[in-house]
Each structure stands twice: as C-alpha cells, then as structure tokens.
Amino acid sequence: MPIVVNAETRLVVQGITGREGSFHTLRNREYGTNVVAGVTPGKGGQDVDGIPVYDTVHDAVRRDGANTAMVFVPPRFAADAILEAADAGVATIVCITEGIPAHDMLRIYNHVRPRGITLLGPNCPGALSPGLANVGIIPAQVFARGRIGLVSRSGTLTYQIGKELADLGLGNSTIVGIGGDPVVGLSFIDALDLFEADPATDLVVMVGEIGGDEEEKAAAFIGERMRTPVVAYIAGFQAPPGRTMGHAGAIISGSAGTAQAKKVALEAHGVRVGASPTEAARLAAEAFAALG
C-alpha cells in the first residue's frame, strides 16, 4: 500500500475555516481523500461544505476516527496545533505551515519522535498517492499514477520533475514533500525506508537541496540498506555560503551543506545525480527501463 497517505487515510484539517485551509481541504476531498473533519477552536458545530468542524482534535478523533491531521494554522499557533494532534492520538501529521520558529520544531521533533508519530513537514506541500489520496497542496493533475516514489524538500521543483517524468510516460506511487525547514519530522531516510518496504514502489527519485546533512546521511543509507534503485537531483550549486535561499533550511553554513558535497556523497554510494530536473527524469527513466 502506498506510503504516508492512502485509502486508509481519515483526515482532520486543523485550520479548516481559514481561506487556505478550506480551499485545499475541498480540493483534497474532490480528489478522493477521505476528509472526515475539521478543527477550528470556537467554531465547533459549524461545517465546511458538509465537513463537520470541531473545537478540538480530540473531538474529531473520538467522533470521526481521524487518523491523519493536516495543519494549516498560522506559524505562531502551529506548534501548539501539532502537539494537540499528537496528544489526540493522530498517527500521521502533515504540517503545511511555513515560518514556524526552529526552536518550536526542535521541541516538537524530540516530543513526537519517540512516540512513533509520523510528522511530515513543516513547510512542506504534503503527500500525494495518485489515485488514492492527496493531503496538502500538491497539484495532482501534474502527476501520473505509477511505480516511482518521489521524495523532495521542495514543492514546485517536485512538480517540475513529476511533469518531466510524466512526459516520459512514468508515474508515481507516492510523492512525499518533506519540507524546506531546518528541522522537519520525516527525513529522507525515513521516506526511503518506507519506499524500500513498499511493494508499490520500484524506484525512488530523491530531490535534495543545500543545507544540513540529510542528503549525505541518506546516501549512506541507500548504499547500505536499499535494494530499490535511487536517482537524485540536488539544487543550489550556485548558492553563496551564509545566505538563506528562500527555504529556511536552505543555507550553506561555513563549508557545510553544499550541493557539491551532497552530490559527491550520493555518487560515492552509487546514486546517479542529474545535472538538471530534465536529466534527473531521464536518468530515472533509464533506471526504470533497466528494471525490465
């Protein structure tokens, strides 16, 4: 069964009555995602186009069996919202919100990790399993259904690569946006591990960018633990050190976190790295064809 979001997803949306929250909730439902509830404190009893709204996530879990939460609340309230979902027993939390303070995420990460909760994001586009469920803001029309797993720190760059794959006749099992912040829940390694165990995935395309060392750690993981082939793309070769390139996590600190270092680490573990999204898609197509 495709990873993170699938036919078993029962979604509660935190911040459902906001402009962005309601817009994307209805798009997700239209796609076929089972949206069971929404939460906006103080608006319990209302509904958004037939979706019941509760005051607390606990109510949504108790009344409608929500097992996945999507967080659409503003940055200053998002940490609280994630902790509430975790406390209510939600197993998978997808946080779209951009701009959450890094220290908030540090505490949240260390709180949810030992509890076995899957936290996707923050500052991520969500996850899409074509044909089954879409949780987040990924434009589903770009992607075809298929057997390639796609994991990325970026939104639009992922859409670009998904489109290039579709142009080559290739589709995806699941597209997972892990987010562009310095501290995110689900890591590249976590996603790769899920794809490795997923019978619906035959190949993985990993899209990284400057900052941190998650791509380097993933390279070692791929070399040591994965039988599923992986093709990569890394963005940010032209980024100067010490500057944040749009994503809060996309920053080269001193000499650490460069695109070159990530490319070298991946290639050292046998992962082919495309020089452009187009080339990465072409490499993926070659590797996929070689699977027979």
């Binding site: 890094a102 540090l106 990460y109 939104g155 760059l157 940010g236 980024a239 749009g246 994503h247 452009s276």
Partner: protein
C-alpha cells in the same frame, strides 16, 4: 539574522553574562567621548558582520581619548572583506591570562542544541576540532530536559578547566542557554571567553544569530537589523517583502518556489550564464506581487536579461502572464525577457503573452530551452 558584536553583548548583559564596559560610536568624536567616559585604555572594534576583522586592521588598542579618536577615524569607513564599517564598539581594554572558546549551536542534524567548550580559545574552532579534537568538549542536550548542572560539570571537566573556574563557567553557560532558548538563537558564541589575571571569566567577543522565523516574538531584536549593511537591491526587496538574494552575475532570475528557483540558477549556470540574483515570488502570486518583484529585480544595473521560470501548481500561469504584462506596462523594461510557463493554466498564460506580443518577451516551452535562450540574449546584450 546575524547580530553585530555590540548587539550580541547587549543580549549577553541582559542575561547576566559578564562583558566589558563599552559604547557604540558612529564618529571619531563619539569614540573619543566613549573613551573619556571609560577613563582607561580602550579597544576600538569595527562592527561588521564578517570574520577576520582583526587581521584586516579593524581592532586597535588606544591608550587615551586622543588616540581613540584617531584610530576610530581610521577604522570608520574601512572596507573589511566587502563590508563597510559604519560603527565601532569602544570598550575597556582587558588584561588576558587565558582565552577559552564557548558556543551553543542549533544542531539541525542531531536535532539538539550542541555545546562546545575548549581552553584552546581565540582561534577558529574548526581548526581546534581538526587539529586537537580531544581538547574540544562537545555535548548535545535534550531540549525537553534543558541545560542541567551535570551538563555544566561534564563540559568543564572534559575541557579541563581549572576547578576554581567551574562555578563561573557554569553560570555563564547556564545564562547563555537561557539566552539561546529565550531569544530563539541559532548560534551563541563567545570567542574568546577570557580569564583575567584575577581569575574572572568574561565574554570578549559575541557572535549571535537569531532565527528569522521567530522574530515576530522578539520585536526588540527585529529592530536591530541594519538595513544599511545590505546592498540597495536587497534593502528594497526587504522593504517590499520580496524573497531576494543578490548574486554577482548578469542573468536576472525569477520564479515560484525556492527549490525551483535554485534549480533555475544552476541550469542557467550550466548553459553558460551567470545568475544575477535569486528571487522567489512564492506560491499563489498575484499580478501586483509580480510587478513588485520585477521592480526589485530590475533595480540591479548588472541584469542584462531576465528568465521568468514558473511551474504553476497553486500559482496560476495566466495570473503570472497578467503580472508580466502589467510589469512591462508600468516599468521601463529595457532588457530582454524569457518566459517559461508550465502547469496550471499554462496554455491560457502563453496565449495572453502571444496576444499582447510585447517586443522584449520571448516565450520558451522548456526550462532548459529557456535557460539557453536567456544566456544567448544576455550575451548579445553585453
């Protein structure tokens, strides 16, 4: 957001970390007055957000107010690795018996704060870590538990601090951790952390970085940002809320989404061009936002051609096309522009551009094709 030394020291003082008495000065006269108030030898320190100012001659000892004025005059206006000195920090000169190093880093890889303490201070910490790693005490702490006395003891013993300094060092580390957490810092570094001949520890320098995403809860720190230190294009971008980084090339680049824009820079470089900037208009951009973004981008005189690369997800390509046409109407665009629109409403977007047929605009189908075209145009416009 990086803070100047004097700003970091203000925060140190607020949290009870000992610092030297001092004042900030923007003119040689102010430096003289500061030295008169201190009434002792002073150190004049250039305030720049770049390392290596000592080697560049940006830190000098002055015996008296006359000398302070004269040295401040020489340092003010100095260029230190591309940064102009607008202010100097004038502080009481310290007698130094030993120099240590202490820092707390937001370790994103480990997902924990990292403490580092060594008696080999005053030099680059990377050098200590590489050459004498056993001299460097390193400790990750659990942010849910916080910094405890046993952490302080471990660091002091591991670093080999003399026992009589443990209490002072523990107090400084505890205060620094409080500052780190309460001000949402990504880095708090004291290098050197000095020991005076009398055995007192205090912070002789301060390196302090605060999380931009947390500035909403620290309005006092947000106000410390020095817009003057930015290139004019970046100042304009910040004032107008545009995500922009100035680079040193000549191809202007604008797109939606940080990853796609970074990728666009790389693809343009791969085609032989040199990017002039990074500019992300973000998701769901409306026509007005595109006009503003174009205005920032075109304020850079080095831009010879522009590549507009959009992949429409939530962003609609027809809205982007309207923004481009509005920008062409309202701004005096002299450079050629290559536009590549893909994704949501791309056909409508391209049709809008084709119907208006503005003379400077070239529409390309693919990202690679667009990159090659803009490099060609930038070259011929040179």
């Amino acid at each position: 957001m990086d803070l100047y030394e004097y700003q970091g020291k203000q925060l140190f003082a607020r949290y009870g970390i000992p610092v030297s008495e001092g004042s900030i000065a923007a003119t040689p006269e102010e430096a003289r007055e500061a030295a008169e108030r201190i009434a002792a030898p002073v150190v004049i320190k250039a305030q720049v957000l770049v390392g290596g100012r000592g080697k560049a001659g940006g830190v000098k000892l002055a015996e008296d107010p006359d000398e302070a004025q004269q040295l401040a005059g020489a340092i003010l206006g100095m260029d230190i690795r591309g940064h102009t000195v607008h202010r100097v920090w004038v502080e009481r000169s310290s007698d130094i018996a030993r120099e240590y190093y202490f820092s707390i880093t937001f370790d994103r890889g480990a997902k924990r704060p990292l403490f580092m303490l060594t008696t080999a201070g005053g030099v680059e910490i990377e050098q200590v870590a590489a050459e004498t790693p056993d001299k460097l005490a390193r400790l990750h702490i659990d942010p849910l538990v916080g910094f405890q006395p046993f952490h302080a003891r471990r660091l002091c013993f591991d670093a080999g601090l003399p026992p009589e300094e443990h209490r002072q060092a523990g107090d400084i580390m505890t205060a620094a951790y409080r500052a780190f957490v309460e001000t949402d810092a990504m880095l708090v570094e004291i290098n050197p952390l000095i020991v005076t001949p009398e055995g007192n520890l205090h912070a002789l320098d301060a390196k302090y970085t605060v999380d931009d995403n947390a500035l909403f809860r620290h309005p006092d720190i947000a106000e410390m940002r020095d817009l003057e230190a930015l290139p004019p294009e970046e100042r304009m971008a910040r004032e107008r809320g545009v995500t922009y980084v100035k680079l040193d090339g000549f191809v202007g680049i604008i797109g939606n989404g940080a990853g796609l824009v970074m990728s666009t820079l790389d693809v343009v470089a791969g085609a032989g061009g040199k990017p002039a900037n990074f500019l992300d208009v973000g998701g769901g951009a409306q026509a007005d936002e595109i006009v503003t973004a174009m205005e920032v981008l075109l304020s850079d005189p080095d831009v010879r051609a522009v590549l507009f690369n959009v992949f429409g997800g939530i962003t609609r390509c027809d809205e982007v096309a309207r923004g481009i046409l509005a920008a062409l109407e309202r701004l005096d665009v002299k450079v050629p522009m290559v536009v590549r629109l893909d994704g949501t409403n791309d056909v409508e977007g391209r049709q809008l551009l084709a119907d208006a047929a503005p003379p400077h605009v070239h529409v390309e189908e693919t990202m690679l094709g667009a990159a090659e075209r803009v490099v060609e145009l930038a070259g011929s416009a040179a």
